[in-house]
């Protein structure tokens, strides 16, 4: 292909450590090497990569699994190219001074923060259902972006992104003399898939070669960015894209991100079909979609 191919790549979230591989690819010429001119665009809660794929504002994007499944259920022709997070970073923080949560039954009687309408609600409700805990046995607390209720002990568990907010909060509470732990649903068998790289069916059909080159470049970048020996380079790159976060915190974030994305053999991007099917099943159960979408058909497997 020619180096003239221009595409936009819409992330799910703003530039921070959660997108380290994406910015690494951007900063170090991974896309150029594959002959594609990619503009990496930061995301945000008001962004929706799948919409932009359809509108032609972007050719590739990052979307969470629930977005993909919802879109499929509404007839969007979207394809998953790679699954970035093998473990969902959406977890719950709680003070270590509290009784540890070793079984789901330990949740009983706790005040649990959830974002109504958000993925954490879906996940938590699935967990509660799975553990057979009736709604009345826990107190659900409506969460905003403001952590005060957690700080002031009004809630026991608070949903956070383990890899980005986790280290920041840990540090703050540590400075206040408190240690924290995280409740990870995956530890209890609930695998709700998080961010994945998507493109449109049309791209897949019309530019299969470009898609292949894109994903090859991207995954290579992620792999390199998360390789421990490249940590310094990755952190320098991050410092450019995300000057708001202190470097030591970024180091911690990078370490945790590595654990959530990279597999033991160093590979990234594996699509965990079982997890996707579980995600679809959960969404069916929670009536977030009205009919099955056969999500497996939208997954691009095998390489």
């Amino acid at each position: 292909g020619s180096a003239e191919e221009k595409v936009n790549y819409r992330l799910k979230w703003r530039f921070n450590t959660s997108v380290v591989g994406d910015v690494y690819a951007d900063a170090h010429g991974y896309f150029e090497k594959e002959g594609i001119d990619v503009t990496v665009k930061p995301g945000g809660p008001e962004r929706d990569a799948i919409r932009e794929l359809e509108l032609g504002y972007a050719q590739f994007g990052v979307a969470s699994a629930d977005q993909v499944i919802r879109a499929l259920s509404k007839g969007a022709r979207v394809r998953v190219l790679a699954q970035l997070f093998q473990v969902n970073p959406l977890q719950w923080i709680y003070r270590s001074a509290q009784p540890p949560i070793t079984t789901l039954a330990d949740l009983k009687g706790r005040v649990i923060g959830i974002t109504f309408g958000g993925n954490d609600e879906t996940i938590m409700k699935t967990i509660l259902a799975k553990a057979g805990i009736p709604e009345g046995a826990v107190t659900l607390f409506s969460v905003r972006y403001d952590f005060t209720p957690f700080y002031r002990g009004k809630t026991d568990l608070w949903p956070v992104y383990r890899n980005s907010q986790g280290p920041i909060l840990s540090r703050k509470l540590q400075a206040g003399g408190e240690a924290v732990s995280f409740f990870n649903p995956a530890d209890f068998g609930v695998n709700f898939v998080a961010n994945s790289v998507v493109t449109s069916e049309k791209m897949m059909a019309e530019q299969p070669d470009q898609v292949a080159r894109f994903i090859r470049a991207l995954l290579a970048a992620w792999r390199d960015a998360l390789a421990p020996q490249n940590a310094e380079k990755a952190l320098s790159t991050l410092a450019k894209y995300d000057p708001e976060t202190p470097r030591d915190i970024q180091g911690e974030q990078l370490r945790i991100t590595r654990g959530l994305v990279r597999e033991d053999d160093g590979s990234v991007g594996r699509i965990d079909v079982a997890a996707w099917e579980q995600t679809e099943a959960i969404m069916m159960e929670q009536k977030l979609i009205s009919a099955p979408v056969s999500v497996a058909d939208a997954l691009t497997l095998g390489k």
Binding site: I50, R51, L55, Q67, A71, T115, G118, R144
Partner: protein, 249 residues
């Protein structure tokens, strides 16, 4: 008037929806990006009652918020109209607080007031009060010499009288601004719910956005628009009534 207001709203709303649908057809977009008419209609039927209740609950807060902010704007406007040190101080305070995006000071509000009704009300009022304030300040700081002269030379001028005179002479403008501010009270309440609440239409919209469900958003906007049209119609009617009462008591 009220009737006209409502059907004009309907025209605008449906023009907006038509625009979206035209876009959908033109760009061949899926229901995920822009829901089809059928699915909008289904959502409408399914959610109508629930959303209506939410809108009404929002309206309730908005009304209280509006009253609060009218009082606040009057108070600040009356104090700030003076060119004294304290007057400008209050004015600077009133302006600066407004410049801060609510979302940025919401945490402080929650720390101070907890996250119950009071915070929501305060946020709604804060969004609504400022435009009122600007108008009140503009009106209150402009002397009406032909009327005020007598009271000044006879030493009868009190600030209450001054306020009364200027308010009465600008009744029309005040009525426009107050009935218009209903809109802001509504928007303010919705934002407050968006940030803080677990009830009200703002909350429903937030969930719909989380779920990328534009159909729900459209239905919510429809109900907000209708409700607001009626509320504003009522306010204008009350405004007329007050004007008539005051002008012919």
């Amino acid at each position: 008037m009220l009737f006209r207001r409502i059907y004009q709203f309907l025209i605008i709303y449906f023009l907006g929806v038509l625009l979206l649908l035209a876009l959908k057809v033109l760009l061949n977009l899926s229901n995920y990006v822009i829901p089809g008419p059928l699915s909008i209609w289904q959502v409408f039927v399914r959610e109508f009652q629930r959303f209506l209740l939410h809108v009404l609950s929002t309206l309730g807060v908005a009304v209280i918020g509006q009253i609060t902010s009218i009082c606040l704007a009057l108070a600040v406007g009356i104090i700030g109209r003076q060119a004294t040190w304290f007057g400008t101080f209050v004015k600077v305070a009133a302006y600066n607080i407004q410049a801060y995006p609510i979302v940025a000071i919401a945490p402080i509000i929650f720390i101070l007031l907890g996250d119950g009704f009071a915070s929501r009300l305060l946020i709604a009022a804060m969004i609504c009060y400022f435009p009122l304030l600007l108008s009140v300040m503009g009106i209150m700081s402009e002397p009406i010499d032909d009327i005020e002269h007598f009271y000044r030379v006879t030493g009868r001028m009190r600030w209450q009288l001054e306020v009364k005179i200027r308010a009465f002479e600008n009744l029309q403008k005040l009525a426009t601004v107050i009935s218009g501010s209903a809109t802001l009270a509504m928007a303010g309440t919705i934002v407050a719910e968006f940030i803080a609440a677990d009830a009200g239409i703002g909350y429903s919209i937030r969930i719909a956005l989380y779920q990328s469900d534009l159909a729900k958003v459209l239905v919510a906007l429809f109900l907000i628009g209708i409700t607001l049209s009626i509320y504003q119609g009522l306010l204008e009617w009350v405004g007329q009534w007050v004007k008539q009462r005051w002008a012919s008591a």
